[in-house]
Symmetry: C2
Subunit: 150 residues, 2 copies
Amino acid sequence: MDDSLRIDGLDRRIVALLEQNARASFATIGAAVGLSAPAVKRRVDRLIETGVITGFHASVNPRALGHDVSAFVELYTEGRTPALEIARIAARHPEVQEAYTVTGDANALMRVRTTDTSHLEKTLESLRAHPAVLQTKSSVVLSRLLPPIS
Amino acid sequence: MDDSLRIDGLDRRIVALLEQNARASFATIGAAVGLSAPAVKRRVDRLIETGVITGFHASVNPRALGHDVSAFVELYTEGRTPALEIARIAARHPEVQEAYTVTGDANALMRVRTTDTSHLEKTLESLRAHPAVLQTKSSVVLSRLLPPIS
DNA sequence: GATGAAACTTAATTTTT
DNA sequence: AAAAATTAAGTTTCATC
């Protein structure tokens, strides 16, 4: 582990607050952890630079956007398919929101977001069209339990 | 669908920009979509009010925080366990970052984040300690492929 | 009903100590 | 790291289309 990634308890508390609310002001965060706004900003800048914080993102209710079907898709790939190739396959599909290589029967797990089941079907077919993809196994999301929609 | 949830193309573009960068200024977003900063703010406020945007969150590199093990855990529960009860089980464990009810063999899917494999084991045992939980099936994350760490 | 311009308020950021 | 000063952004008001 790089020495520049060393973080202390204050950093952890700042990160935790930003995970909950990425738009909290530096002053608010500072009040919570006992620092001035500029001090918090410097730490946040460093946390971003060192790759501890990887980004700030709005969470959306997919259904409100007309994306009614979310699914977790397990990908079974050819024996020696490198992770980079799986990443390329995933990146080619805008429906893929997240992708991970995992232990277990499947080689990768993806979360996909589609407008409807027909769109999901097309996405799965498109994924399986790649020669390295042997099979997909999907679990359609019925409801999100956590984190609760605030 | 509630009429207040109706969103147009501009809203979609604003949401897409905020999904990428939750800290983009209203002026920056406005420049991208052809609106003034106040107009963007009003739309964002409305998108939050109507539940389209559910929050703003910092993404972190779990490993940098000493959370070296992430896993997807399938939960097999007693036949008539309602989603709300699964939500309660999930909420009791701070290691559970996300939880969904899903179609397929398992009843629910969770993403958990732990410091190490021993911590993961304790979390799984704790989940199985609940009478409604029959079995867990885990896939440990080897690497995140998407979204790329910017 | 939503917009943009301007005024005003608050926060971000830089500089200094 | 904090305080003060500066710059930029958020927010409200209001006239307009």
